[in-house]
Symmetry: C2
Subunit: 491 residues, 2 copies
Amino acid sequence: MAKLTSRAEDYSKWYNELVVKADLAENSGVRGCMVIKPYGYAIWEKMRDQMDKRFKETGHENAYFPIFIPKSLFEAEEKNAEGFAKECAVVTHYRLKTDPENPKKLIVDPEAKLEEELIVRPTSEAIIWNTYKNWIQSYRDLPILINQWANVVRWEMRTRLFLRTAEFLWQEGHTAHATKEEAVEETEKMLDVYADFAENFMAIPVIRGIKTPSERFAGADETYCIEALMQDGKALQAGTSHFLGQNFGKAFDVKFTNREGKIEHAWGTSWGTSTRLMGALIMTHSDDFGLVLPPTLAPIQVVIVPIFKGEEQLQQIDEVASDLQQKLKAKGISVKYDNRTENKPGWKFAEYELKGVPVRVAIGARDLENKTVEIARRDNLTKETQPIENLEVYIEQLLETIQKDIFQKALNHRAEHTTKVNTYEEFKKVLEEKGGFISAHWDGTAEEEEQIKNETKATIRCIPLDNPQEDGISLISGKPSKQRVIFAKSY
Amino acid sequence: MAKLTSRAEDYSKWYNELVVKADLAENSGVRGCMVIKPYGYAIWEKMRDQMDKRFKETGHENAYFPIFIPKSLFEAEEKNAEGFAKECAVVTHYRLKTDPENPKKLIVDPEAKLEEELIVRPTSEAIIWNTYKNWIQSYRDLPILINQWANVVRWEMRTRLFLRTAEFLWQEGHTAHATKEEAVEETEKMLDVYADFAENFMAIPVIRGIKTPSERFAGADETYCIEALMQDGKALQAGTSHFLGQNFGKAFDVKFTNREGKIEHAWGTSWGTSTRLMGALIMTHSDDFGLVLPPTLAPIQVVIVPIFKGEEQLQQIDEVASDLQQKLKAKGISVKYDNRTENKPGWKFAEYELKGVPVRVAIGARDLENKTVEIARRDNLTKETQPIENLEVYIEQLLETIQKDIFQKALNHRAEHTTKVNTYEEFKKVLEEKGGFISAHWDGTAEEEEQIKNETKATIRCIPLDNPQEDGISLISGKPSKQRVIFAKSY
């Protein structure tokens, strides 16, 4: 097994190699589309199930809406249409026929042209609000709290596995409310659900904040986000929650009679996370040896590897391992015993390090004598000897410790790579030398934001929600500012 | 709430009304595509989770492949391509632009034409086998046992909610094997998984069988199926499992070195079930009052309805109901207490009958005195009085009884509507007067099959797997036949 390119050498190459070698995903024969391989999909399934549970606990139901959006519906909400028109896949025909010049080839049948083109959904507000129109007549029909798990397509020109692909998997929540207050509350609630999920399940620390107008979702009045910091000092937007105002209510004529008997347009929210989170997971925790997975997300949490000479030793170890396996399984811990004889222990060690299995248990001949095992932690690469007695209890606690430690490590990294600056010179210096989150004053104009972006490639990631008020001077215009915002280069 | 059209009056209308009124699904603004509403999706989720569990138990893993298939890959396996070319959605462009004649409208950007058209997957053999090519070099890489949960698109001209829609949700298993025997074994194993799921989870009796060559999946050497009988005497194909031979292995040049060191093409299977199963569920069990759901699939298994006059009575019932709710939940039974005051009990009874809630518990003032409740079964519409003490134990057993009774009822219906015939006259008479499965001799030719289909609209649903050998004379040609096959009109 060839070693990974190190992060220091080429971070981007390290990432791509890791995704492929750890069997998470690979590029497909279709431009910009990926194949999510079983190991990667198993991790995504855990993320999906956990989010789904949290959505249901907060009162949401799943539903499914068509993948196609007729062009006339697509263009109804102008800003949304404008935002996605430049990168959408368009279905124009519904049949192929045999090529008259080559009977082994197929061509598009010109007689099967659609009267109206269909857009493959890049996001589903249009088709969903067009449906809600028929579901909402009275305030009694509200709120509608629906989530959808689906695939979407955005025709990105430069793609990278998980981070930016033409097709990706996601969930999109779409809710309708009787009042502005309720819709804002929902937007914020779902942001909190995302932040809690990212931190307490994925072990990824995030900043909750609000996007500037220029970074808003097309069609939203306000976009909330969670922003994570990767190991290379770049930011990654890990989830967004949009307050849509009455924009879609008006565009799709979704009206209802309110408690006072007056006709109003419904208020909306939408919120989403995607397989992009896989990229955030990889780039937050992993190292030069491969994946580092928080135990919550690891398809295999513990691997047992026998170190043996000859059949007899292996049989003795098999017995001990089988007992341990049963005890771990009884505690709900997923465990694999790899007693294949065609690969050597060293090869197996490297393999499970690459795959990010949190805990490795090695059992050798001397361990049998001493009634011990060797425990190796994937996250910090430490090893220790532990008695085999009550090992399942020790491992259960160790998995919890690892989960906490991984989060703390990422939190420390973020703290070390978050810098307050007060001048543009300082800003550029920090961005160049260290990267990370830069906390600075901004004059609130699109002009200053744009100039900084053009000159440094850094964007305002968000205006943090829990932001202390502080008098300051903005970076370029020197205008007074009341609070700092977070800048960074980003994925 | 307006009554449903009865099945006797107009079966087809009954079905459509039921799907919409029970909040399962509705037509969307996109031709032939449906919206699966939360209540319908909750049932589908239970089916999906249960199937997923069974796939994993039999060694399969989930993965995800692109929704698009480049035309050149699509046409690689000729029969498969021919089978789906006439009904596929084709993406030809990747961008819209503002209409120069109307700035509020968008048009397809002629400059954003794809070099190669992309087909929205009607099934994924092509894209998956094109991927397997890179995964398979040696017999050690086999078998590959992968399943995918996805949406697919087939441009059907006549669509019906769940039964036939342009887009539907499904799972598609795609496996690759080193030997023919292993691939055939997999094909049969998955058919058994489907049959077991249909009968023991969905309470739908099915016949396991093999399709005739003319009814085979395009690209398969053999198609196995499970066939269910609906209440109107029509058959519904509820799942298929295909032995693909080396067809895709050859078309996509998937070769491996076998144990003997020789190069061979891989052997394949594919197998699928879809949201069409929702149609089978509805049409197998439901009645003129609405849905009848087997307890395994009911989003709400028990509903408690208070019958009260005044606030004080309601409060007393609330207490009893709340206690019962907790006890049922502790047993893993999903329960809803509907103490809304804006709707009368009769309205609620009709609503939960429509939605197919298996058990209704009504609690009135007299019940409080007698420490009893009224239990109503949705499946056979019977009512009885039961003591409130240990009611959770009674209900738990009742749910199991209902599950069995629903299956037995469907089994009886099928037995009553399965007829052996020996002449074509008899065949036509039974088909006309009674419908159902007709067991008859067939000469094994496509000609006889075709003639029967053209003259009666009945097709051979399958050659049953557990088929007794029996000498007979075929219906039209009068040629000798060794076994009966199952004919029916179908969905």
